[in-house]
Amino acid sequence: MDNFVEGLSEVTCDVLVIGGGTAGPMAALKAKQKNPALNVVLLEKANVKRSGAICMGMDGLNNAVVPGYATPEQYTKEITIANDGIVDQAPVFKYASRCYDIIQELDRFGIRFQKNANGDFDLKKVHHLGTYVLPMPNGDTVKKALYRQIKRERILVSNRFMATRLLTASDGRIAGATAVNTRTAEFLVLRAKTVILCMGAAGRLGLPHSGYLFGTYENPTNSGDGYAMAYHAGAALANLECYQINPLIKDYNGPACAYVAGPFGAYTANSEGNRFIESDYWSGQMMQEFYNELQSGKGPVFLKLNHLHADTVGEIEEILHKVERPSRGRFHQARGTDYREKMIEMHISEIGFCSGHSASGVFVDEFARTTVPGLYAAGDMASVPHNYMLGAFTNGAVAGEHAAEVALETDLPDFDSEFVKAERKRVLAPTRREDGIPPNQLEYKTRRLVNDYLQPPKVTARMRIGQARLAEVRDDLETALVARNAHELMRSLEVSSILDCADMAAHASLFRTESRWGLYHNRVDYPKKDDDNWFCHTLLRKVDGRLVSEKRPIQPYIVPIENEERTAYDRLRVSNQA
């Protein structure tokens, strides 16, 4: 294993789904169910059995819109306000209207959600305004349940293939993708009528404070390949300056976790043990308050559980140490930390792109369509804000169904064989060198520069220096990157995605000359929110080989927002504090 094998194969299908984590399996399932005659391929860099953010399971649905607790209108309003108004409401409203069906379907798959004595779903309040969190006491069953469905529907799964670029036809339609085997470096051309991108967040953009490249909040397989591929195919990417930054346990880089422990009475506190934010729901405004407290004389910040009854803490541990990030208990044990006795030190994560938690993604409409005909995106990498796991499932379903319909009416598009030849050369270049810089060093340097120059608070002059330094790293990548085996080749290609994402982060951040979304886009030299000029989306795309940003108006709201409601998330600081 890992030795280079020369090889070039071609596969043809109707619907190609790339990324088999959360959104991908659901997209493939729905495409196949829509029309069982279709040939659906699910391509995955890791192994669909255990891939993606949910590889071990999940603690709960963070944003379930369940009748009796919330309406699609309320949810759409909450997300619009939480995202500072920069929201096209149609896809959010569609998600909110559809997600209850998906919850019931997942329940039938065997993923059990928390129910009360009457057998009804039992939701908890974590958001600032409404009630949307549905615990999953058996959240470790998610992947198994999905995998059973994939097998049942006879979807063709290709594991250990990393997609590298998208193919487009002469008329601009999507035509497929190229991929490389991560254990042999064999090259694969996949032709398809429609393609659905489900490659997760760009989780390896910033460097965690520990310096460990893989100690990220996101599953590190999600290195931003989807963002890079969409960019190179000419698709528009929305609001990339609205980074993902999360409050995490210091050094562990797992969620702290407000959604699980909050409903039991735990909260985020400063070193005096006092609450300083009204709502622990993750928003840019909340992260700004978190950052301020962290930097203040009352820092650092802690997760506080030691005021709770020992049995309650036991119940929380039972969830936190078993399902989503089960090595958390070991981390605390090794340091002798007991939730019952001490508050737990927290910190902020490295930066990334993610719409699952924030709002930075490939632009999509309410049918999960990108701006490239025949190309769809769903999950963390698509621009529907704050959509979390249930958003990945629901929008994956929307994408799968629509892509299946379109595939039926489409002939297999042509593709440019010269492009494939050039791409194969690009992909394999690090394997052709005898000597040079290994991917781990190039990656460390890129991500260290991201931390030094691109993470907020953002400063114009600093970001410009960052761009210049990143350009030097790009030269090294193009002329000196060396991979000694297929595994290192995968890492090399990941560095190329990370570098593309870093360039996009800098470009998008410089374009929006105001501050918005709290910490996510805190531009120190443009400290004010400027609704007159910047109450709009920004779209970034590749034009003639260069990054180009433009403004895009926000579509008229379906659910109106009153003026005093607009600023609800600006008032998160506990009012009796300075």
């Binding site: 294993m1 890992d2 310096g211 100690g215 880089n253």
Partner: protein, 77 residues
Amino acid sequence: MPLAFSPTTVPVVVDEAKCIADKGCTVCVDVCPLDVLRISDLTGKAHMKFDECWYCMPCEKDCPTGAVTVNIPYLLR
């Protein structure tokens, strides 16, 4: 520019007495999302080849004989 050999202590350890890779098992290698485990040509047992771990634990959970232990990577401990 010759490459140096820099040692790191790996977070995932395999109890060779319990590992049945020599009987054809490759479960941990198959499921790891980061693809960092391999069966050693020398010992015929599973081991961590690349220090690129998310300490997520499918390898430990899915191993049929309980041979795998995931520790927190040293830099985070």
